[in-house]
């Protein structure tokens, strides 16, 4: 009965709601669709001086390459500009960051959830303050020592820095997931004679995976999307995808090169697309987990 009443709306309200939602969907989705389509054109079509519909039909593309669609941008980015190397670096960085932050984070988050002492709360507040620090302010603290100690430019340096920057968030999120696992579970294991670590290892680890997967997704996103750390701490040879795309921009004024950047942008977005496709539910639950529990 309840839903009947709720769903009876005046037609005007319905139009407003549908209009709003439709406008939002177009605003959110169209830019990606447009760029994806445009990445298979030449620059003269994607940035058309004459008529924007050229980008739809590929008029210049037809003239310049003989086909309506062209993979020139992708060839230029991946082969000529060695974007594959950046993609490889990104995979190394991202996988390492996710694995290390989750290992440290589950241990810490578990301890924070089970402690019940006042200092655990203080640590969480400290983590919140750390979370608020703009990353670039931290980076300006690293650069000079890293130069002095010859740590600058290497992938492991960037990885450990991103793990650290990621920790406050990881701790908060895993802490709230562990709070949801009943205390009785590990405590009864300890009554049976397990040490705290054994209880964690044999009782908690098997049931914690949903929380860990969700937290892992967000660690992945942080590492994958980072520009500040990777752009300042990595040498040219070790560049990951995002700073590589940024450096394309500096050298793209000549004809054709902008399309390299467009192709690289689409290539770098594709994995994220797949990620949402498979993990939409976890992402949504992760975003709300922190909020609902305060």
């Amino acid at each position: 009965m309840m839903s009947d009443i709720v769903h009876r709306r005046s037609p005007l309200l319905n139009i407003i709601i549908w209009g709003l939602v439709l406008a939002w969907i177009v605003a959110a989705g169209f830019p990606f669709l447009w760029t994806l389509w445009g990445s298979f054109k030449v620059q003269g079509d994607f940035f058309s001086k004459a008529d924007w519909t050229n980008a739809l039909y590929g008029v210049r593309t037809q003239i310049e390459t003989g086909g309506v669609l062209t993979g020139k941008g992708y060839h230029g980015a991946w082969v000529t500009q060695e974007f594959w190397l950046a993609a490889l670096n990104t995979s190394i960085v991202v996988v390492s960051v996710v694995v290390i932050s989750l290992t440290l984070g589950t241990l810490g988050g578990y301890a924070l959830a089970r402690s019940g002492k006042k200092y655990a709360f203080y640590l969480l507040i400290l983590a919140l303050v750390f979370r608020a620090m703009p990353h670039i302010t931290l980076v300006s603290g690293y650069l000079l020592p890293f130069f002095e100690w010859n740590l600058w430019g290497h992938l492991p340096t960037a990885i450990i820095v991103m793990v650290a920057i990621n920790q406050p968030f990881t701790l908060w999120m895993l802490h709230s997931f562990f709070l949801n696992i009943p205390k009785d579970l590990d405590e009864s294991a300890m009554v049976d004679g397990c040490t705290r670590f054994q209880a964690f290892r044999h009782v908690i680890v098997p049931v914690m995976w949903p929380g860990v997967v969700t937290t892992g997704l967000f660690s992945f996103l942080l590492a994958y999307n980072d520009f500040t750390v990777t752009a300042t701490l990595l040498s040219q040879a070790n560049q990951t995808m995002v700073p590589k795309i940024a450096s394309f921009l500096g050298t793209t004024q000549t004809e054709g090169n902008v399309m390299f950047a467009v192709a690289a942008v689409v290539s770098a977005t594709a994995p994220l697309f797949v990620l949402i496709l498979f993990f939409q539910r976890q992402i949504v639950s992760g975003l709300t987990a922190g909020a609902v529990k305060g």
């Binding site: 670039i136 406050p168 520009f227």
Partner: protein
């Protein structure tokens, strides 16, 4: 949990945070008190076709040696903080004396790099944050009324602007609003102004950056509110309906109060994230019209000739102070809640 066990569990995580978050903050503070060495000058005799002259030249070797020995540079006290590129006390004093009115004074102050960046950062933070909350709430209300079948795909598309790398997301928008891009040329057509370029004018650049900010963060608020809407107590809604509350009244007096804690959460996260606005300025190449605190630190650090660690350090310390001021209300609130729980 025993203190000892707690210690060993938290240790690895704590070490990384202390080494790479706490120490850098200290390191930044120390750096900000130092300044680059001045070049060592030597007097050399320079003989040319018109006779010999005594000239001052930079002794490259000695300068490099000095830099090697004391990489931090020389002690400068608070000198970096007060110079023209940061708090600029002298310049502000002069501007105050010489300006004809408040507007004139403000325009002089906003020409100073630090205040220019601060002005944009604060404007961005306090314009984008409330808009994100408002739009997120409206989208959540809208999507909540959709038939179940199209909710999933709608959420999928909605997540895109938030999940996509900020640098990449802003690039995609930047290409579209290029004068030859689809949005840019459409705007030219609408306003019948073939020279209209969003990049050329500072106010339009500011608006563009903020539109990007809202586009990027609205999905976050939307998802959180949407999840909150699923938990609105049905009995209260029904009771309100029986009491004759209209749709608007129900939203205002039942839904909104229920979502209040979520709003605080979104505000907190958004304040923190918007205050560090950085990537869109890089991808929009907007530095001529808009700079942010994060951007000027970055600019000091990636200089092609040399890096200004002292200057970057001083801006960083000032930024950290700014973040702390923003955080204080939230921290006080969390503190009070916690103490109430304990009592």
């Amino acid at each position: 949990m025993k203190n000892r066990t707690f210690f060993w569990f938290i240790l690895p995580s704590l070490i990384t945070m202390l080494l790479f978050i706490a120490l850098p903050i200290i390191s930044v503070a120390v750096q900000s008190l130092h300044i680059e060495h001045e070049a060592v000058m030597v007097e050399v005799k320079n003989c040319g076709p018109f006779g010999c002259k005594q000239e001052l030249q930079v002794d490259v070797e000695e300068t490099a040696k000095l830099k090697q020995e004391r990489p931090l540079g020389q002690f400068n006290g608070l000198g970096t903080y007060t110079n023209r590129n940061h708090l600029a006390f002298t310049e502000i004093g002069l501007a105050w004396q010489s300006s004809t009115g408040v507007v004139d004074f403000m325009s002089k102050v906003l020409n100073l790099p630090f205040y220019r960046a601060l002005a944009f950062t604060l404007t961005y933070t306090f314009v984008v944050t409330p808009l994100v909350v408002t739009f997120g709430f409206m989208i959540a209300l809208g999507v909540n009324t959709l038939p179940k079948k199209i909710k999933g795909p709608t959420i999928f598309i909605s997540l895109l602007p938030m999940i996509v790398t900020p640098l990449i997301g802003s690039l995609i928008l930047f290409w579209m609003i290029d004068a030859n891009g689809i949005l840019g040329s459409t705007l030219q057509w609408i306003f019948e102004d073939p020279d209209l370029s969003l990049k050329a004018s500072p106010p339009l650049t500011w608006i563009m950056l903020m539109v990007y900010g809202v586009w990027h963060s609205a999905p976050f608020a939307f998802i959180v509110f949407y999840a909150g809407l699923q938990t609105v107590p049905a009995e209260t809604m029904e009771a309100a309906m029986i009491d004759g509350a209209s749709r608007w009244e129900r939203t205002r007096y039942v839904v909104l109060p229920h979502l209040m804690p979520l709003t605080v959460f979104i505000l907190l996260i958004q304040l923190m994230d918007n205050f560090r606005v950085f990537e869109p300025i890089v991808s929009f190449s907007a530095q001529a019209s808009a700079t942010s605190l994060s951007w000027i630190i970055y600019n000091d650090l990636v200089g092609t000739e040399s890096q200004f660690f002292g200057s970057a350090g001083a801006t960083s310390v000032l930024t950290i102070i700014g973040v702390s001021i923003l955080l204080i209300p939230v921290l006080v609130r969390t503190w009070r809640d916690f103490n109430q729980k304990v009592v």
